[in-house]
């Protein structure tokens, strides 16, 4: 009896550790949840504009999209909440955070701070910047009748994970890079008319708030634009277009898809990417780059100063497409293509390094590599490594390899 009573008392005491109370209870009715999967953040005059989108529904109806401005992210979300009392916004499954270009240009520290502090958002959520557009546009208009921005971004993420022309870095990745290097990269996306739609006007409610959901959303009750205007808008889709470079806490430049291949090689996150070169007959040859790595080594002068950075890159590619069938019987034909591959890779890497120098933004983490090589000498360099970048000599050497010609006449193939 005493034992049981003691156990009961201990359990009651443990209950106080659960964090549950009348106010802070985790209990939610499952069927009332509106699962938000994408959050868009825009800069607005009064503070911030928040767009939210749910995922696609199994019954084929369009995803719910909501928008509200506010002085802060919290107040904007609270405003949306007050208009969606029938359903409870559930932000814990937010899988993508999209930043408008203006918002990124005006500083993202506040947004990153919100992501870190919010109990509903994880810091491993991938971030995207809408190149030349707003997050509201992306969240409210991307997708068709049954798919929304969440599904499109999911596809984008899977695509960039496989390909080497971008990568969806998470909020924690960006925070780490900003803290360590003073700058970082964010996946850039661009919204454009859907190819499937062929540029025709979208019918129905897709791509905009519609039906019951739109009636409740702050968007349709005075948020941004009327329902008729939205009906006129085209269905958009989104695609990755490289990276946005964040220096300090602001967007300062974009890296296009071609340069992004160089970023991938320097960061050792090479995916499958295509490089078009020309053979000695000026025939275009598409090389599929699928393996590559880089070794960056600082070269120290005798006086302890940083003489230069020696970057050695290995790149291996297959021939994916060749105009006219190629000339594999000719001696040195493959060697010529290999040289072209090395040149193309070198150009891309050089351009990225040059951009880093120009911007004085160490988004490649070169300073960190130097520090890891010799911390004492790194400290002796003094100052911010980014400021040393413009005067830094960089030697790039590329070792290319054509692994497979994929030609039936080729004995190696």
């Amino acid at each position: 009896m005493k034992r049981g009573l003691s156990l009961l008392i201990i359990i009651c005491m443990l209950l106080s550790l659960s964090g549950c109370s009348g106010i802070y209870s985790n209990f939610r009715e499952l069927e009332r949840l509106l699962v938000i999967q994408t959050m868009g953040i825009d800069y607005a005059e009064e503070g911030v504009g928040i767009s939210l989108a749910s995922g696609a529904k199994s019954d084929g109806s369009s995803p719910v999209r909501l928008f509200s401005p506010g002085v802060s992210v919290t107040s904007a979300i609270a405003h949306i909440l007050s208009y969606s009392q029938e359903q409870e916004l559930f932000l814990s499954h937010t899988s993508h955070v999209v930043l408008g270009e203006e918002a990124a240009k005006n500083g993202i520290n506040g947004y990153l701070s919100y992501i870190c502090r919010s109990p509903n958002l994880r810091t491993d959520i991938p971030l995207y910047i809408v190149k030349g557009g707003t997050a509201q546009e992306a969240v409210m208009q991307v997708g068709d009748g049954s798919k929304g921005i969440s599904e499109v971004l999911e596809a984008v993420r899977a695509n960039v994970d496989e390909r080497g022309d971008s990568k969806a870095f998470s909020a924690s990745d960006l925070l780490r890079d900003l803290e360590r290097n003073g700058s970082g990269l964010v996946c850039a996306i661009e919204c454009s008319p859907s190819i499937q739609e062929g540029g025709t006007k979208q019918e129905g409610g897709s791509g905009s708030s519609s039906g019951t959901d739109s009636a409740e959303s702050p968007d349709s009750t005075g948020g941004s634009g009327s329902g008729e205007e939205k009906q006129e808008k085209q269905a958009l889709t989104a695609a990755a277009v490289g990276y946005g470079v964040i220096r300090g806490d602001r967007l300062c430049a974009y890296i296009d898809k071609e340069q992004a291949i160089g970023v991938g090689l320097l960061l050792n996150i090479v995916g499958i990417s295509d490089i078009v070169v020309k053979d000695r007959y000026a025939t275009p040859v598409t090389l599929e780059l699928d393996q590559g790595s880089s070794v960056i080594k600082p070269v120290w002068a005798e006086d302890g100063s940083l003489e230069m950075l020696d970057i050695q890159i290995k790149a291996a590619a297959n021939i994916a497409e060749i105009g006219g069938g190629g000339h594999f019987g000719e001696p040195d034909y493959e060697d010529y293509l290999t040289a072209q591959l090395e040149t193309a890779v070198s150009e891309r890497v050089s351009s990225v390094i040059q951009l880093s120098k120009t911007l004085q933004a160490d988004f490649l983490g070169l300073g960190n590599i130097v520090e890891m090589d010799d911390a004492e000498k790194y400290r002796a360099l003094g100052g911010d490594f980014s400021s040393l970048l413009p005067g830094l000599t960089v030697r790039i050497s590329v070792s290319g390899q054509i692994k497979h010609t994929n030609d039936i006449r080729d004995e190696k193939a």
């Binding site: 156990l7 209990f27 499952l30 699962v35 199994s58």
Partner: protein, 502 residues
């Protein structure tokens, strides 16, 4: 032979002797008054015909042919019945006048009554106040058949029956050694049920043997007609829902456990053997494990433990996740659960609880009814009612899947008793999950572990081999080595002879 511990007899001790009177036919008739099957016959015995021993028996319990042929006929043979006095008559009978392998001279009425009820025929000498009893048990017993609950693929095809002596012989046929000891006792004020304790001398821990014997001796009930009565009176934690005695209907499994150093109990009238001590892990093993390759049996063992976890945790986890921790499951799964739950009018908790109750009802209905009807009920219940309930949006399909998977997983547990305990715990865990989500589940798990770790089964902790600080406990519980590598017996059993093989 054994120094059985004496116990405090309790407030209402059994009256001993129960029949404190002389052995006379009159007293026997008084004792068996209103017993229609009590039969007796007075014999005119001796050359002068002045000796009148009474032969008595319980009809049906003894074999009528044996009584006539082996007892009465020799006694009435004039050439053989040359005794001059009752003493000489008794001496002649004991020396082989009647055809019986087990003459017992009884001077206490309790013994005579006991013998009569256990299939003996008694020759009563009023003048000597003694009786000579001979076993002439009726042979109308159920024949040995295949086990019904523990199917055997490669092992023996026989199973225990209701007759104690047949059961002990089945075990003897597995262990041909005089070291296989058999200690019998009678339990039950009214039933006087014979219980046999079997163990292998030198292998079983002597302290445990004495402990079991003492506990058996201390049982003072009206009747021992089921193993439940036995279990309730000899286990260490009778209030625990978890089984603490292993039951088996297979003599080969019984013998295997005896050779491990455990103790077996056989009860007259029950076609099951009881094994002790038994820890939690033993209830997860099946006899067929030893007949399979160790990799196959290990994979099946892991599958059974997975089934245990599914059975115990799945409904509670589903309810906890659906009610409190929606952020913990993949987004697509959450969306499909929400879609499935959209038009269901009941809360998740009520839904799962009602499904568990419905599942229990179906199971009970299937068990109580004859096989063909039981199958029909299952089909109607599971398919028609279940499907209709989903179509009518009374329950969500995922709730049905969760409860069904949990129920099916429970059926894979080798022990029905353990399955029942798990079902009870599943319900309690579900209530804890409804009350406090994962926190509730965590608290219930702590209580459950505390409870299990607090149970001792005849000196062996219930959670052994996980407890006790022996290295590799988890490995030994979940997996088994190849048979040639199993050199030693289970150390938890404290067997004097530790080595199992060279």
């Amino acid at each position: 032979m054994y120094n059985f511990q004496s116990f405090y007899p309790g407030p209402h001790p059994k009256k001993t002797p129960e029949y404190d009177c002389d052995i006379t036919i009159k007293n026997l008739k008084d004792i068996f008054a209103s017993c229609g099957d009590f039969q007796f016959r007075t014999l005119d015995f001796g050359l002068e015909g002045e000796i009148f021993p009474e032969v008595c028996w319980l009809d049906g319990v003894v074999s009528g042919d044996s009584v006539s042929q082996d007892i009465i006929r020799p006694l009435t043979d004039l050439l053989r019945s040359r005794a001059q006095s009752a003493e000489e008559c008794a001496r002649l009978i004991k020396e082989g006048l009647v055809y019986s392998y087990s003459p017992n001279e009884r001077t206490k009425m309790d013994d005579v009554v006991n013998d009569l009820t256990h299939g003996h025929c008694a020759i009563v000498f009023d003048s000597l106040k003694l009786a000579l009893c001979f076993e002439v048990r009726s042979s109308n017993v159920r024949s040995i058949s295949e086990p019904t609950l523990e199917k055997s693929l490669k092992g023996g095809k026989d199973s225990f029956v209701e007759t104690l002596r047949i059961n002990t012989s089945l075990v003897r046929r597995r262990i041909f050694s005089p070291k296989l000891k058999l200690v019998e006792s009678n339990i039950g004020r009214k039933s006087n049920t014979r219980v046999a304790m079997m163990f292998i001398d030198g292998v079983a821990d002597q302290a445990k043997v004495e402990e079991v014997a003492a506990r058996l001796d201390n049982i003072d009930v009206d009747a021992l007609l089921s193993t439940g009565v036995l279990e309730a009176h000899i286990v260490d934690a009778p209030l625990s829902p978890f089984p603490q005695l292993l039951h088996t209907e297979r003599p080969d499994r019984f013998a295997m456990y005896l050779s491990d150093g455990r103790i077996g109990l056989l009860v007259d009238g029950l076609p099951v053997g009881v094994i002790l001590p038994a820890s939690f892990g033993e209830f997860m093993k099946v006899t067929g494990d030893n007949g399979m390759h160790f990799l196959v049996s290990n994979s099946l063992s892991l599958l059974r433990y997975l089934a245990l976890i599914l059975s115990l945790f799945l409904p509670a986890l589903y309810v906890a996740v659906a009610m409190y921790h929606q952020e913990m499951i993949p987004t697509k799964l959450l969306l499909s659960i929400i879609d499935a739950k959209q038009d269901v009018p009941f809360s998740t908790a009520l839904e799962v609880l009602s499904m568990l109750v419905a599942f229990g009802l179906l199971q009970e209905a299937g068990l109580r009814l004859p096989n063909p009807i039981g199958d029909t009920v299952s089909i109607i219940g599971a398919l028609i009612v279940g499907q209709s309930a989903v179509e009518a949006r009374l329950v969500s399909p995922i709730a049905i899947i969760v409860v069904a998977v949990s129920g099916i997983a429970c059926y894979t547990l080798p022990s029905q008793d353990m399955g029942s305990a798990i079902k009870l715990c599943r319900l309690l865990m579900l209530l804890a999950a409804i009350a406090a989500g994962f926190f509730g589940i965590g608290i219930f798990c702590c209580i459950l572990l505390l409870h299990l770790a607090g149970i001792d089964s005849f000196g062996v902790n219930y959670t052994a081999p996980l407890s006790g600080g022996q290295p590799g406990g988890l490995f030994r519980m979940l997996l088994r080595r190849p048979i040639p590598n199993r050199k030693f017996r289970n150390p938890d059993l404290n067997t004097p002879d530790r080595r199992r093989q060279k």
